[in-house]
């Protein structure tokens, strides 16, 4: 699994990150807590404004759905009640989609989740835990689960999955399933395989994310 992450590359925002996983590349910027517009303001908690921009063209309903899904992953991990009446803007720009955009959004979504997590850490916004996400596919006529499939694997797949897990205790324990979306044609047993194998690689990825964060934290401390 090829995964690389880079933190703090943008200077004019509070937190930023770039994540590359297989052929998919996403850059994410976080600004906040800032003053919200009147209609965004929530009296007791932080409001999140999440924007996903596609690799080419203008945002469509497809990106709106990705925003909605990203929000459902991010909401439980941000400590929202520490910032009442504030706003946090999260923008994900997809640089390379790495998949057939009309049919799939799995790889982009999982990359956006990982990029957002790193950018949130960089921004210093209070989080309850960290999270990691992988995309998966099961090829036609096989039961093997492929982690972070390539586009041609996606095209040959029988079912595709995105999994995001909430990790605690040194990224060694799974607290909850934040998000799972499985589409295609699959059985209950295949689903549990996906969960099991996905959990393993999410934990692995969690440790990778952790080492990326740790090296950033170390470099920011003057010794």
């Amino acid at each position: 699994m090829s995964f690389s992450g880079n933190i703090g590359l943008l200077t004019e925002v509070d937190g930023s990150s770039q994540v590359e996983c297989e052929d998919t590349k996403v850059i994410c910027a976080v600004t906040g807590p800032i003053e919200p517009k009147a209609r965004q303001e929530l009296p007791t908690q932080l409001a999140l404004e999440i924007i996903v921009r596609p690799a080419k063209g203008v945002p469509s309903t497809r990106e709106k759905l990705m925003e909605d899904r990203l929000r459902s992953v991010i909401t439980p991990i941000v400590s929202l009640y520490q910032y009442p009446r504030k706003l946090c803007q999260i923008t994900c720009q997809i640089l390379e989609s790495g998949e057939s955009e009309y049919e799939f959004s799995q790889k982009e979504l999982s990359c956006c989740i990982n990029a957002t997590l790193l950018a949130l850490i960089d921004s210093g916004l209070a989080l309850n835990s960290i999270a990691s996400s992988v995309s998966m596919a099961i090829l036609k006529g096989s039961d093997d689960v492929i982690i972070n499939p390539t586009n041609s694997q996606l095209l040959q797949s029988q079912s595709v999955h995105v999994l995001a897990l909430q990790l605690i205790e040194g990224s060694r324990k799974v607290k909850n399933v934040l998000f799972l979306d499985s589409s295609g044609d699959f059985t209950e047993q295949q689903l549990f395989n996906v969960l099991e194998i996905g959990e393993k690689s999410c934990l692995e990825l969690g440790l990778t994310l952790r080492s990326i964060i740790e090296s950033k934290v170390k470099s920011s401390f003057i010794s």
Binding site: V13, D14, G15, T31, G32, P33, I34, E35, I77, S79, Y81, Q82, Y83, P84, R85, K86, I121, S123, G124, A126, L127, N128, S129, I130, Q166, L167, I168, E169, G170, S171, K175, R210, I213, E214, K216, V217, K218, S219, S220, F221, I222, S223
Partner: protein, 237 residues
Amino acid sequence: MSVLVLPGDNVEVDAGKPVSLGPGMYCDPKTQMVLPVNAGVLNRTDNKRGQTLYVDYDSKRYIPATGDFVIGVITGAFADSYRVSLSSFSTPVSLSYMAFPNASKKNRPTLKIGDLVYARVCSSEKELEAEIECMDSTTGQDAGFGLLDEGMVAEVSLGFARQLLYNNDFPLLKLLAKHAQFEIAIGLNGKIWLKSNDIKNTLACYKSILDCSGKQIGEFNEIVKKNFNQFTNTVEE
């Protein structure tokens, strides 16, 4: 010993002793679990009276905390207070006309929109608008706050500003002082105000501060020298 923590990591807390939590730590009101909420270095002090825990982390967005020294820009004036911006796009804070030394109803401060002030955060409830003051409110005396006239402002990360202000062993200011005479005000909101008798020196100091943020201490001397050479020589030649 420094321990790196990430949000959601386990932190041992002695339940028998009173605990004070600083920045980066949070006690979930529902589960009563004490957890770090930021990625950084965990600092722990234990003494007879109890334990204190906080996470030291670097960030860019300033969130007002009581007692912090800050530099703000006046962005508005109301009947009894100024509106002050501590960082771009953040919720503005208020600076009361009465929070100046020798203030009275007759004697109003004379700050204008666009002026820079050095002040201290005196109230910072997360649900309310934060307030800052330009005097020592316990004594009512002047405490070195107020208008910052002329000069230049450098914007750095919050961690770097804290180092400059609180770390007495931090060599940057001493290095700068070797080369030039200057006035400096350090705001914990990541703004550093500088003024020198000569514009060349101001620029050299400004550039040095920006260049040194994010660098190791060992490199500081080199950076400062290079900048002063560059700025003072170009004019003299």
